[in-house]
Symmetry: C2
Subunit: 241 residues, 2 copies
């Protein structure tokens, strides 16, 4: 197989990444300065700079003006079983993680055909978005959005801002068992708001998992769920069994 020479910037990224995974550069250690790297690779400083900026945006390194660039401390990847059948809270607690949740938003959303259809809401109905931020070991790692219709949950406007676990809320209202329809996974990048909430850089991919939560008795859709996971904090177990 023959490959034409790729642009040098990408090759520099490859080289540094290789040094990171092979632990030639250790966590917390200072990287060579831009000028040193420019001399090493025989390229203008800008080329090195672009490569380093990309690594920074991907979240591998950070920079301090006047000091240098440093490899971030190692952060363990949490292994998570990706299935809609149990609640996020239960999954994490079972796995023994220190999980905290903050309710960050509860607001009426404007009409959106696809979304309203998912929760069996008509154009005149009200649909609320309830957002929680999930922390593990006090690090934000996921944003969890639930979309519910006011028709189904009349008190949602006042209850919404206090909810941390939707499953808990449903149980209190008498719902006993839950299941889910199709679960879809895709990849996106954080908006500026999401970057701040998750305290991550703009090029850290987010894994989006969307599904509907269904009451096992009535078979009615209770909510549409959308979870944004920081992809650098997880390894997902998608074993089918």
């Amino acid at each position: 197989m023959i490959l034409i020479s790729a642009d040098i910037e990408t090759q520099i990224i490859d080289d540094i990444m290789q040094q990171i995974v092979s632990k030639t550069i250790e966590h917390g250690e200072k990287l060579p300065s831009e000028n040193e790297l420019a001399k090493k690779y025989k390229v203008p400083r800008m080329t090195v700079r672009n490569a380093l900026t990309k690594l920074e945006e991907r979240g591998y390194i950070y920079s301090l003006q006047g000091k240098g660039r440093y490899l971030k401390e190692e952060s363990t990847q949490i292994q998570l079983h990706l299935t809609g059948k149990t609640s996020f809270t239960d999954k994490m607690k079972e796995a023994g993680y220190d999980l905290k949740t903050h309710n960050i938003i509860c607001e009426k959303i404007s009409f959106n055909e696809q979304l309203f259809q998912n929760v069996n809401a008509g154009k005149e109905d009200n649909v609320y978005k309830i957002g929680r931020l999930r922390y593990i070991n006090d690090e934000p790692i996921a944003i969890h959005y639930s979309y519910v219709s006011e028709k189904m949950f009349p008190k949602i406007e006042v209850d919404g801002p206090k909810i941390e676990s939707m499953f808990g809320y449903y149980r209190k209202l008498g719902y006993k068992g839950f299941t889910s329809k199709k679960s879809l996974l895709s990849i996106t990048f954080p908006t500026s708001d999401e970057q701040q909430l998750l305290s991550c850089k703009s090029m850290v991919p987010l894994i989006v998992v969307e599904s509907d939560c269904i009451d096992i008795n009535t078979n009615k859709v209770l909510e549409h769920t959308k979870i944004l996971y920081r992809s650098d904090k997880f390894k997902y177990d998608i074993t089918m069994d």
Copy 2:
């Protein structure tokens, strides 16, 4: 919830992305020039430029020197059921896609503890990496690596470079049914080689699915599988049933 003002560059990205998803900018259409955008957002051209460069690296837009920047043509996302139980080939053919495969590599790999352990190989055994590039509608969309031990498949060195479907190869050797152990999903970025093979930019995330393929009769591990999917070309169905 109060958010401190994020850096302007990120906000510009948000704004342009919003215009893309709301179809204010149409596919193939020319974006405003860097100077126009700089005037619009009241920022130096460099800031706009950085924002646009990021969008380009994520694969949403492309640029032509002297002409301008353009929104890419729409590319449909293929929906794929992510499970290890059926072969990649079968999955795609079932779904009715025009799938082509090219064998791109077959080589003996150097010792790697984790990997060798996966295929039950000792330090003295030979393990081969067989790589195929998957095309759908003549677009490269995934790189599929299979790791097999020579101990298990003595003729792999000569057969390897011709194999397009490992399952087919195993069936020819008398293996009848396959299953898989744990499947793990994570996110990575393409190396320069992978960028060329998949003809994608450096910031297009790749979905990595790793698992072991097991002979259903003997329960022996046949291969360790690692598939790199272009995340922008797929929506993954991870429904459990």
